[in-house]
């Protein structure tokens, strides 16, 4: 009798444990802290790649060449399309914002609003022509045109077996002279991640 009861209670405990649910725990952390959970492209990758690539682009000869040819004028840059050709959904708008921030903070270039942002600004300027006072209304057709456009791609190669995968990301950026289509800088940043998943847990 006792043996059977103990056996059945043990089985019942195992069964109950398997049905137990996990509770949530929230911990606040610094926004620049590197946290890798799934191994997918994340905010840390975006930030680090942007920092490194913009540091590179701002340290190259094209800026001095432009300054020399234009009486010390700062080059005006716009960030164009960054195409995601990887096997992950990557928030390229976050990456573009990281690039824009690093470009502006570098202080060596001027920066203009993107195509989508310009649309809203133009609409506002048009509205001002009829509704704002003459001295405060901003002039139409007075925008600063960009000299260079930064374009690029994010690609990835994944090699995976059961429980393990290696993901290789390559970010390629090119800075192109808008007037001449001349490429003045090409940069590439590579990231390799090994993601392992345990076969079992308690």
């Amino acid at each position: 009798m006792k043996k059977w009861t103990v056996l059945m209670l043990c089985v019942a405990v195992i069964f109950s444990v398997s049905c137990a649910s996990q509770s949530h725990k929230v911990t606040r952390t610094a926004s620049d802290e590197a946290i890798d959970l799934s191994g997918r492209w994340n905010d840390t990758d975006s930030r680090l790649v942007a920092e490194e690539m913009i540091r590179d682009v701002l340290s190259r000869a094209w800026i001095d060449d432009f300054n020399g040819a234009n009486e010390g004028k700062k080059p005006v840059v716009i960030v164009g399309r960054i195409r995601n050709k990887s096997s992950e959904h990557i928030a390229t708008d976050v990456f573009i914002k990281d690039l824009e921030r690093e470009l502006i903070n570098g202080g060596r270039i001027k920066f203009v609003a993107s195509k989508a942002e310009r649309g809203e600004l133009r609409s506002e300027k048009e509205d001002q022509q009829s509704n704002a006072t003459e001295d405060s209304a901003k002039k139409l057709a007075s925008e600063t045109g960009a000299d260079f456009m930064l374009q690029g791609t994010i690609s990835s190669v994944t090699d995976a077996v059961e429980g393990q995968k290696v993901v290789f990301y390559q970010v390629d950026l090119e800075l192109v002279n808008i007037e001449s289509n001349e490429k003045v800088w090409i940069g590439s940043k590579k990231i390799k991640k090994v993601v392992e998943q345990a076969k079992s847990k308690w």
Binding site: M1, W4, I14, R83, N84, Q197, K199, K201, W202
Partner: protein, 469 residues
């Protein structure tokens, strides 16, 4: 003496298990008719309402797959993508097996595990996500999904290597490339005007069909192979034209049914008979015998008579689609039949067959231990307490042991059975496209769509009819 309390404690413990013992299919009651009528909204409501009652946390992958696919058919592409992504992430997360839940499965049955999806579900989830992204005009997102399909199929090749002795011995057909996945990526490369990449995928599509004879067979007629002439599919968009690619899905995917083995002990031997049960009516099993093995008698010396056990194994069974032919007519004049490109049900069967051997072994060991324990306990009770106690114990232990041996029949319900495709080069401008599904000479479903063709562009038009026989 084997006390009455022992029997009660066994019964109580067993009752605990029985609560979560078998697979319920109650959530699918009446859905076939609604799908035939194209009433996807009503099926979405039915499945959503039963989230807690019939699915729960343990079957979240099943819920996300079921509702995600239904949302796709209902044209709710954003929600479909969110749900299918949740399914995909949960499948990945459940690769890590919980030892405590495995212990439950080892004692009770596979239904105690969290449902982690079948291989084919994990592959095709990305095909439908790609179609969702295309419907949302996000070709870049669709391309991401197409790449994921290829990564997952490569993983399958490593999971079930063809060099594996077991696979070789059983001569099972192996799924190692998907023509549908290559067709999707070929379409996306053509949209990007990446002609070389598109041509590579076109060749791989042809190789997938010709190199997997056991997989590329028609769902409506398994005797007939799915083949495609090399010139039937071109990557180039003719000068001055635009291309409309029609991708159509037909019928429902397979269903898991229970192969029930009845084991009756006779003096000095056992009788084994078998039947197939679809268990469609929820907790109450539909006991129609769909297939009957010849009864077998196996002599076992000293086997006591009078025990009756049942054990169940899952079996993947394809459903025949109602439509046998799909025709496309443009502006009432230009006609063509779509060609079958993938038998999704067959891929499900083939990938399931590669892993089922281990399920059979585990089930037989578990059931054997339960049945042996039942026989030993009953015989001890019979010896100690006499005929009546022995008879009650024999009945009780046999019933409990059998009741806990239920097959894991969980499988998403709403993947289609097969895929068709076809392409039309049209002049720029607006066109009326009519897609008709035929059974014999009769029309069973028709969809009419207006497409605006631009020169040099390619667009995808998706249709589906999920009616199955």
């Amino acid at each position: 003496m084997f006390q009455r309390g022992s029997i009660i404690s066994i019964m109580l413990a067993a009752a605990l298990f029985l609560v979560a013992c078998g697979t319920s299919k109650a959530q699918y009651a009446g859905v076939d008719d609604k799908l035939r009528r194209g009433d996807y909204v009503s099926v979405v409501k039915q499945i959503s309402d039963l989230k807690e009652k019939e699915y729960g946390e343990k079957n979240r992958v099943l819920f996300y797959l079921d509702l995600g696919m239904l949302m796709h058919y209902a044209g709710q592409y954003q929600q479909s993508n969110e749900l299918l992504t949740q399914a995909e992430n949960a499948i990945e997360e459940l690769y890590t097996v919980s030892i405590s839940k495995e212990a439950g499965a080892a004692i009770v049955n596979d239904n105690t595990r969290e449902y982690s999806g079948e291989d084919y579900e994990d592959v095709y989830v990305n095909i439908f996500k790609a179609l969702n992204y295309l419907a949302l005009n996000d070709a870049e997102g669709a391309a991401v999904e197409a790449k994921k399909v290829h990564i997952k199929i490569n993983k399958l090749k490593d999971k079930y290597p063809i060099e594996d002795e077991e696979v070789k011995k059983q001569e099972l057909p192996v799924f190692k490339e998907s023509a549908l996945a290559y067709y999707m990526s070929m379409l996306l490369y053509r949209m990007e005007k990446a002609w070389d990449d598109a041509e590579i995928d076109r060749k791989k599509l042809m190789e997938a069909m010709s190199g997997q004879k056991g997989v590329y067979i028609k769902l409506s007629n398994p005797e007939e192979a799915i083949t495609l002439e090399d010139e039937a599919l071109a990557t180039a968009i003719p000068e001055g034209k635009g291309v409309v690619s029609v991708v159509s899905f037909n019928g429902l995917g397979p269903e898991k049914m229970a192969r029930i083995l009845n084991v009756n002990t006779l003096g000095g031997g056992i009788n084994i008979s078998s039947r197939l049960d679809d268990k469609k009516d929820g907790a109450k099993a539909d006991v129609r015998a769909l297939f009957q093995y010849p009864q077998m008698r196996i002599p076992i010396p000293l086997m006591p008579p009078g025990y009756n056990f049942t054990v169940e194994f899952p079996e993947m069974v394809s459903k025949r689609p109602m439509a046998h032919r799909i025709e496309v007519v443009v502006d009432g004049a230009q006609k063509m039949d779509l060609f079958p490109i993938e038998n999704i049900s067959r891929v499900a069967e083939v990938t399931f067959a590669q892993k089922i051997a281990s399920t059979y072994v585990k089930t037989l060991i578990r059931a054997g231990v339960k049945f042996a324990a039942a026989v030993v306990a009953s015989e001890a009770a019979n010896k100690a307490g006499g005929g009546l106690v022995g008879a009650i114990t024999r009945f009780g232990t046999s019933t409990i042991a059998s009741a806990t041996e239920k097959a894991d029949l969980r499988l998403s319900y709403f993947f289609p059975g097969e895929a068709f495709a076809g392409e039309l080069a049209l002049d720029p401008g607006e066109h009326q496209v009519t897609v008709t599904y035929y059974y014999g000479g009769g029309v069973i479903h028709q969809e009419k769509k207006t497409v605006t063709v631009k020169e040099g562009d390619l667009q995808v038009l998706e249709t589906f009819y999920l009616g199955s026989q």
